[in-house]
Amino acid sequence: MKAIQNFLEENIKPNFEKGGKLERYWPVYDGFETFLFVPGHTAESGAHIRDGIDLKRTMNTVIMALVPCLLFGMWNVGLHHYNALGIDATFTQQFIFGAIKVIPMVIVSYGVGLGLEFLFCVIKGHQIEEGYLVSGMLIPLIMPVDIPLWMVALSVAFAVVIGKEVFGGTGMNIFNPALLARAFAFFAYPSYMSGDKVWINTSVREGQAVVDGFSGATALGDLATTGATQYSAFDAFIGTIPGSIGETSVLLIILGAGLLIFTGIGSWRIMLSAVIGGAVMGLIFNAVAPFALSPEQQAFMAVPFWHQLILGGFAFGVVYMATDPVSGSQTETGKYIYGFFIGFLSIMIRVFNPAYPEGVMLAILFMNTMAPLIDHYVIQANIKKRQQRLALKTAGA
């Protein structure tokens, strides 16, 4: 360890320091060095001791919470591929097939995203911030498996540049960057982001063919168009249904949520109130289902509220996206309101507009816009209380 450190100090670092040949690229070097070593920086002003937590560890914890979803997603991709072709495949074959599809997306997401981050940091002369580490993992997990890699790259570029860097980088963005990437792809290339062709990879080699009666639609897509689906609630809970790569397994998402809540890094307030919001909307639909116009819609509305919560990207969005502390509500009271409406609107959008079965994406982006407003009113209440205290005092005197 000492040897690496000395090597860096003596042979590499001087090139990047002031006066060195590569002075401009200091942020890149610093990014790598601080990844390897937590620097020996000491507290210079104020308190002399500091908490052991930093942004790297925080972001890393979120990534850990995502790993089960990623691994499951890889296997699920393979599972559906071989099922669609009617081929009996082993678990390993299924997993490897999925990994071959998914890992390039992860690499493209990180490569393009971090590359752009580095570029902006070099231009601005800022240190590299860790925000993209989580976004870079989230983006592939919320894409359909058959999206071309260049679309992933373009969506990432849009999210990083327009969604984040123009606002000033990590901590300054208004929208969740990962969701912005998805929204970009969704509206720019709708045929690759919705419908029933993209969720299951059906590329065939010679001699292979898709089985008769195959449908590539997601459970949610089925319900929205026909009011029925071949997938059971149990399938949806375990996650063996088609969908965006990482979103399908509610079981593993709950596991991830457990880690986030346990470490305090994801807000349980947002998660809980979003689930309540979704359940409330689901119950309302259950109650009014008989009055729906078409039989399909009647059937969709009649889906039990708890079943709604385990379909589509609802759980994934609520656990990993709604809890983004930067784009979400920042006051503890505000978090309840923010979360509730995310859940409420997700289910509402998905049922009322079958063209957008992924209501959770739009609901979160919409509530990102509303979060500062919610915080504003929470803070105003505190200010009012202070002013009333003063008024009471002056009246009494």
Partner: protein, 458 residues
């Protein structure tokens, strides 16, 4: 008996290096210094030059905007050096102490008999006035103001804090006289905050003429700002003064004996001090004699005060006026391989992403107190605000800390006022700074905000 006020939000940081409950043999005081940096909101003017002979209580400096307020010498002797920094700003006025002190005579008097003006006059002339701090802005009290209350915290809840009863022992009469004088200065009450969970000692529990409130809970329960917020929060236009109990004793001596007798007790604390004991000394004393042969090898940080709010000084430095301990820690200058990844148990954290939280939970079952051997490493680099709801866990005020800090960073005066900047000072935010994931310099930012508000609002 008054009700116990429970402070819920906060955290006790157990550190290695508690002081032993024992006094060390007295060490001679060779030099003392008054450090203008200790006082906020003052424009200083020198009253002496190098080589002048002074008595204990003779003015060294005075306040340009409030000329009655003198900053006096704690000992008699010779003005050895005026240390200046950038733009000739005065950093220290050093006095070489005599063996036997001679004192300026301010005349003994019973404060109960005296008028408010006479008390102010005695306190300002003797230098005792500078112990009074004024909120809003955390500045030296202005003589023209009458505070709505005076607050004294009778216990220190900071990490490695000395025991107040030990520091004050044997000064019953002095403390009572000091309180009698302070009672004349305010239009309201003198509030004394005591620890509900530990004995307060004879001096504090026997005092009369104060409103006693008891607090229980983790740090910052002993921080005077927290106590003010619980009892009588500061509204716009109101003034509150605060003072440390050890300074009340010195004020007491002024009225009992007519002299500025600046003897105080301090504690030597921190992991790098070998012999951690209480010491009797003088305000502003040089710390060198205490540390000689008493500090571990290696690169250390010497702090005048506690680890949360103290000032970094060198081994040639002097005690700060408002501090009651000297702490020495290791400097955390060693890089740590993948330090952000490995969940090492030797780091303190309020986050459950590190083992620290569980060690502190286990404390409740085993009864064994966890003591961290922390150094000064910042464990990460400065970032923008990302995490939310973090400061709120250790900030027992009805104030939105992050929003207030953002208002300060953007110089939004109206918002600062609305969010309650008058109610807080730097030290109230010390724990927020410790727990910050983004390593924001919180106390410095608050100070900047207070300075700006003072400039704008007067």
């Amino acid at each position: 008996m008054s009700e116990v006020i429970k402070i819920k939000r906060g955290v006790d940081i157990g550190l290695v290096g508690e002081v032993e409950n024992e006094f060390a043999p007295a060490l001679p005081v060779e030099t003392v210094a008054i450090k203008p940096g200790d006082f906020h909101g003052v424009r200083f003017k020198l009253s002496v030059k190098e080589g002048d002979e002074v008595k204990a209580g003779s003015p060294l400096l005075f306040h340009k905007d409030d000329e009655a307020i003198k900053f006096t010498s704690p000992v008699s002797g010779e003005v050895a050096q005026v240390v200046r920094g950038e733009k000739r700003r005065i950093l220290e006025v050093r006095v070489l102490a005599d063996k036997e002190y001679t004192y300026e005579d301010f005349g003994a008097a019973d404060p109960i008999e005296l008028e408010r003006e006479a008390i102010i006059e005695k306190m300002t002339a003797s230098g005792c006035w500078t112990f009074l701090k004024q909120r809003p802005y955390n500045i030296v009290a202005e003589t023209a103001k009458t505070p709505k209350a005076i607050f004294i915290s009778g216990f220190d809840s900071a990490p490695l804090a000395p025991d107040m009863a030990t520091l004050l022992e044997g000064n019953e009469k002095e403390f009572q006289t000091g309180i009698d004088a302070l009672a004349k200065l305010t239009s309201g009450k003198v509030h004394l905050g005591l620890n509900a969970d530990a004995p307060a000692g004879r001096v504090l529990s026997s005092v009369k003429g104060v409103e006693v409130n008891k607090y229980s809970g983790p740090h910052p329960a002993g921080v005077v700002g927290v106590q003010i917020a619980q009892i009588d929060p500061i509204n716009k236009g109101e003034t509150v003064w605060t003072i440390n109990p050890e300074h009340v004793v010195i004020i007491g001596r002024l009225f009992l004996e007519g002299k500025f007798d600046a003897r105080i007790n301090i504690a030597l604390t921190g992991s790098e001090i070998k012999d951690r004991k209480y010491h009797s000394t003088i305000l502003g004393a040089a710390i060198k004699p205490f540390l000689k042969g008493n500090v571990s090898e290696g690169k250390n940080r010497i702090i005048s005060g506690n680890v949360l709010t103290g000032t970094k000084i060198t081994d040639e430095g002097y005690l700060s006026i408002y501090e009651r301990q000297v702490t020495v820690l290791r400097e955390g200058i060693d890089p740590e391989l993948f330090g952000w990844l490995i969940p090492k148990p030797d780091k303190f954290s309020i986050s459950r992403a590190l083992p620290s939280f569980f060690m502190r939970q286990a404390e409740k079952f085993t009864g064994q107190k966890v003591a961290y051997d922390l150094d000064t490493n910042s464990h990460g680099e400065k970032r923008a605000f990302v995490v939310s709801g973090e400061y709120e866990q250790v900030f027992p005020f009805d104030i939105f800390p992050v929003q207030l800090l953002k208002a300060i960073m953007t110089n939004d005066i109206e918002l600062m006022e609305n969010l309650g900047i008058y109610e807080v000072v730097e030290e109230d935010f010390a724990l927020c700074e410790v727990v910050c994931t983004s390593k924001i310099p919180v106390q410095e930012t608050v100070r900047k905000g207070l300075d700006l508000m003072k400039e704008e609002m007067g």
